[in-house]
């Protein structure tokens, strides 16, 4: 059961020599073997590399060499390039793509001593919020395998929830870490845009993409962030600002903004009450709750749709089948749709109407948040307006992702940091997540609130829930 541990717990266990990295790694690989047929969290399991890394780590540990993630098994979303391990971004175009270099994030994790378990499934090219648009088949939600895990980092979120790994790395353009974390009941941190290098991540929306950890605990999230964060000379958009490492879970007197605009029409009532209960908990912990008027998140859908599609149309131009990969006829429908819309939005005569207009509204959204953070320290809102949706929900809905991500898009557009934390379960046994949004480059603030909530709900009954790995909604609960 070593695979059930958190990063912190594994670290301690390794330090105290209660078990080896190889044992933890084998436990994870076992769990993957047992459950991945049902879940399909992984596109590639790198067993050989994992065992090699684990042995190396054990050797280093025996020599007393320490590193922040020494011997910790991790799963990496399949849009991070891994030298020598196939990287597909869940698209058949890259079916046989063998990277000749490591993403900066992967290099940092390697330097920190990680054991790489494999590459996790995602919506092809990260285009989606379901992980069912993967060319390698859908990932299922471990709490109810008739449901979607969310996406695009659905494989990473499901793998963490199902204890196939100790922790995982995901990436988010707008919601792709927070939303699947919410649907899978785990902690998902989207750092500030520019906090973590994008070098070596298959680009989606270049002005939005952000990489971050998906973990079992808030503490693990902070630890992995400290490894990932920092200026990268290979990514001109990374910031030199230093990450504040101290996470303060005492939130007494701090101000939380709650915006009625984020409890949108049609929100699932159980999600609404779950998040409002969490707000109540924060109030009991001494935080001051302030009602906050925020710019209507529905406009963020428009801004996001235009900017992201435009950037996608250009970012996917390099996939011409000449230097690597298969030719452009292998693009799936969703990618084609996005490329076409972006191409149209940038084409002669439409630039001002679409791209430029969207960047102007984006400036308004940025300014709106700036003003909000003069009044409050963080903002709390539902991560997703709905509970996990059934497998098949995305069929022929060209705006599925945008609607699922309406509450995470504004903060992504503004490049802010945000974290999803599990706050409870629905009556049907599905996770409910709340997001805490903070100002740029103040991950320590949102992590502090998240940690405070986690510490104070540690003994709540819902914390004992276990993923079912079955189709709960179809009447086959195994609890």
């Amino acid at each position: 059961m070593l695979n059930r541990l958190s990063v912190k717990q594994v670290k301690n266990g390794l330090k105290e020599k209660r078990f080896s990295s190889l044992e933890v790694t084998k436990a994870c690989l076992d769990a993957i073997r047992k459950t991945d047929e049902k879940l399909h969290s992984f596109v590639t399991v790198s067993e050989e590399e994992a065992l090699r890394d684990a042995k190396n780590a054990d050797e280093k540990i025996s020599k007393g060499e320490d590193a922040p993630l020494q011997g910790i098994p991790l799963a990496i979303k399949d849009n991070f390039l891994t030298k020598g391990i196939r990287t597909t971004a869940s698209s058949k175009i890259l079916d046989e793509f063998m990277p000749t270099y490591d993403a900066t994030v992967v290099l940092k994790l390697k330097d920190a001593g990680m054991v790489i378990l494999g590459k996790t499934n995602m919506d092809a090219w990260a285009h989606g919020s379901s992980t069912e648009t993967s060319d390698y088949g859908a990932t299922r939600n471990p709490w109810d395998i008739s449901k979607l895990p969310g996406g695009s980092s659905g494989g990473s979120a499901a793998a963490v929830a199902a204890h196939q790994t100790i922790a995982a790395i995901g990436s988010e353009t707008a919601g792709s870490i927070r939303q699947p974390a919410s649907w899978c009941g785990v902690v998902g941190l989207k750092p500030t845009y520019g906090r973590v290098s994008r070098y070596g991540i298959v680009a989606m929306g270049s002005s939005l993409d952000s990489a971050g950890p998906i973990t079992k605990t808030v503490e693990d999230s902070a630890l992995i962030l400290s490894v990932l964060a920092g200026k990268d000379p290979k990514d001109a958009t990374t910031s030199p600002l230093k990450l504040k490492l101290k996470i303060e879970s005492d939130i007494k007197g701090l101000r939380i903004g709650v915006s009625p605009q984020y409890f949108i029409n049609g929100i699932d009532p159980e999600v609404e009450s779950g998040v409002k209960n969490a707000v109540k908990t924060f109030k009991e912990l001494g935080a001051e709750i302030k009602e906050l008027e925020l710019f209507d998140p529905n406009y963020a859908i428009d801004v996001y749709t235009i900017i992201q599609r435009s950037e996608v149309s250009s970012n996917l131009a390099r996939y011409d089948g000449i230097r690597f990969g298969k030719d452009r006829s292998y693009f799936g429908e969703e990618a084609k749709r996005r490329i076409m819309l972006g191409t149209y939005a940038l084409s002669s005569g439409y630039y001002d109407q679409y791209y430029n207009k969207a960047q102007k509204v984006r400036a308004i959204i940025i300014e709106d948040f700036r003003k909000a953070f003069e009044k409050v320290d963080v903002i709390i809102a539902p991560t997703s307006p709905s509970l996990p949706l059934p497998v098949g929900s995305t069929k022929d809905s060209s705006m599925f992702g945008e609607l699922a991500d309406v509450l995470v898009e504004p903060s992504s557009i503004a490049g802010l940091s945000g974290i999803n934390i599990p706050v409870g379960f629905s009556s049907s046994g599905l996770p409910i997540g709340a997001q805490i949004i903070g100002p740029q480059f103040q991950e320590n603030a949102i992590l502090g609130f998240a940690k405070s909530f986690e510490e104070n709900t540690q003994n709540a009954a819902w914390r004992k829930n276990e993923p079912s790995f079955t189709e709960v909604s179809k009447g086959k609960p195994n609890l």
Binding site: T100, T237, R323, G325, V361, I366
Partner: protein, 94 residues
Amino acid sequence: MKINVKNVARLANLPVSIDEEKKFEKQLEETLTYIENLNEVDTTEVKPADNVTGLTNITREDIVEPSLSQEEALRNTKSTHRGFFKVKGILDAK
């Protein structure tokens, strides 16, 4: 809003079948209709956002570092000839 899907597909260098053409036309028009409400936002006095981090003047020193070997550069394609990438002959009409 009428999209010339064929022209957009040509610009995007995407092979699109006739069936897809019809489907995309409908879907893209739906999306464009969906985002039309952006026009409700008054942006007359607003400058477009450029980089959310506020970073400027990011450059690197003019220093040479090792390149990939020819073998590495060509590793992910099967279509090569004498160290070149090879494609079907194109008229040099650029």
